[in-house]
Symmetry: C2
């Protein structure tokens, strides 16, 4: 039986959904692929739980249900501690470990680079390590000896990254790509289109948990910019974060959340006018990422209502790509781009590919 | 450097597009993945060309441009000859060969099974081996020691099969799937929708090369049925061909092509009425495959004009899948589902996965 021990960084909703899937499918993987994926270690930013050598079924079940509670408290420097742990594990294990980063942290990069150097393979749902400087993207994704999968960094489980990588490897080249990559901004755009004012829909979306506690984090477009950068780099365009202008959905004042929310009505009239005048010309507003050879921008744009992107409603994500192979008519992939189960399934696919199962 | 010798069965348009991509990307694969994919043998139904041990660059270039002309003529029994060749190659080679079937033949199954038994891995664009009896599907796709990729059997290069396999492995389960899987029937449905009579559009589509020389092969839906069967089986439903009714787009009389074409006007009025009455109720006609747990049907159906399938125009393919993970809103993949470059790219992706590159 092939064994690939897993080290999972992050035990939030996605990490726990992944644990559920691993528990549920352990028998299937054994039977179908003669493959075991035991958990060697689990880490949050404060706690570290290691197995001897692996965590037991009931232990994993409990963490999947309620999160990581017991374990070694990591006080001073979780990065160094995690890195040491992974290096020790890689040395001690005859089987190549797979390190899975399901945090939203920008501090895991040294852990991941150390893991690759130590011979581990890596799977990311965390987009931050791949959306900083381009040099780090290359060090992570083009390691000479170890592979890294990152399907779940863009569009959760939608088969975007793997598809673009395979096309690029086959010699395909980008003509242009248009994508909606934020469920929250998609929801807001649809509500605006339906005539509701931003000053009503943002507070409601926030109450429903559709936005971050500070909705400016969503409206800034920073998350979309990170994903756009990953898409452009996957198609071999070496862009830096500064190559993409910051284009928040509306101008974002500083100050408390409450004060900012109270000031939202000031934007209603201008937005409503823009929605209406777009509508009159057959357009709708969408917060889109556009990627062209060597350049990329993100922002609120008028797109034809009858286009695939214009027809998208609600929080779904979409990527439409025209390439040398898909020149006449684009390749289009759409569906929910967030959620624990679909994101975990995207990670699961990467793990299976690294394990040589799929 | 890792080397995976390729044996390619079929040297038609898709086989030659694959050779072009392999030639064009040889340097990239060497540099990026330290991987070589030399051609050990190429076979048509009449000719066999083997290398010593591999075909030279110029030799492959020439075949990619003009097809296989020289080589050992295979007279009596190409299956036995190909099988012997592959077994000899697998014995002689330290590197595991990959056998690629880009024929449209229903006779390659014994060659493929022999290749898997001999330790080769297999990639299919040919859907016939996977759409006969379910037992053969299992023997090909669940071989205990060798893997088989078949992305290009449904939707050409669209990332359908690999995505459904990964979801299924992660524990996802089918709720329902609706798909348009024939570019030709999609084109005909759109033309009907635009008010043109079948008796005009079929002969024109035939002249443009959009249909088989005998368009009844397209209108029979047999090709869609094969693809639907592959999708259902990929989601673990053990259907047999007889479980899916044959539902041609119109009743298909026997006889010569010319006589059949001359009789087409007899269907125009009924089809036009059906198109019109669908339109009045907000529907359009599409030739769809529907896959539900344990069952599947194909045929001309009324679908809501505003649905993803209803909005599809022309020859594009689409798959919309609702699953346990994608329950609220479906996963949707669409785009050109035929063509040499995109089909070859689908094959290329399978080869790279088997070679452990992607």
């Amino acid at each position: 039986m092939a064994t690939r021990p897993l080290v999972i960084l992050g035990t939030g909703r996605i990490g726990r959904a992944l644990l559920q899937q691993l528990l549920h499918r352990a028998g299937h993987l054994r039977e179908r692929y003669d493959l075991a994926l035991p958990i060697a270690a689990l880490a949050s930013s404060r706690l570290l739980r290691t197995g001897a050598p692996y965590l037991g079924h009931e232990e994993v079940e409990q963490i999947a249900a309620t999160g990581l509670s017991g374990g070694e408290p990591v006080r001073a420097d979780p990065v160094t501690r995690q890195r040491e742990l992974i290096e020790a594990l890689a040395r001690a294990s005859a089987d190549r470990p797979i390190v899975v980063d399901v945090t939203a942290s920008d501090a895991t990069t040294p852990v991941l680079l150390g893991a690759l150097d130590a011979g581990c393979e890596v799977v990311l749902a965390n987009k931050k390590p791949l959306s900083g400087d381009h040099e780090t993207f290359l060090r992570l994704t083009r390691h000479p000896r170890s592979r890294l999968g990152y399907e779940a960094t863009v569009g959760a489980g939608l088969p975007i990254i793997h598809t673009l990588r395979a096309l690029t490897d086959a010699g395909d080249e980008l003509i242009d790509m248009t994508a909606c990559l934020s469920g929250t901004l998609g929801y807001l755009c649809t509500e605006l289109e339906d005539g509701r004012p931003l000053s009503q829909i943002v507070p409601r979306a926030r109450e429903l948990g559709f936005t971050e506690p500070d909705p400016r984090e969503d409206l800034s477009g920073a998350d979309v910019k990170r994903k756009a950068l990953i898409l452009a780099r996957t198609m071999n365009w070496p862009l830096e974060p500064d190559d993409i202008a910051d284009r928040p959905m509306i101008p974002l004042e500083e100050g408390s959340v409450a004060a900012w929310l109270a000031g939202l009505p000031a934007h209603d009239a201008a937005l409503a006018t823009r929605v209406r005048s777009a509508h009159e010309q057959g357009y709708v507003l969408r917060y889109v990422a556009r990627i062209l050879p060597g350049k990329c921008d993100v922002g609120l744009r008028e797109v034809p209502r009858s286009s695939a992107v214009g027809r998208l409603r609600g929080s779904d994500n979409i990527v439409t790509a025209r390439t040398r192979f898909y020149d006449d008519r684009p390749l289009v992939i759409s569906g929910p781009g967030a959620g624990p189960d679909v994101t975990a399934a995207g990670i699961f696919g990467d793990i299976l590919r690294l394990a040589g199962a799929l």
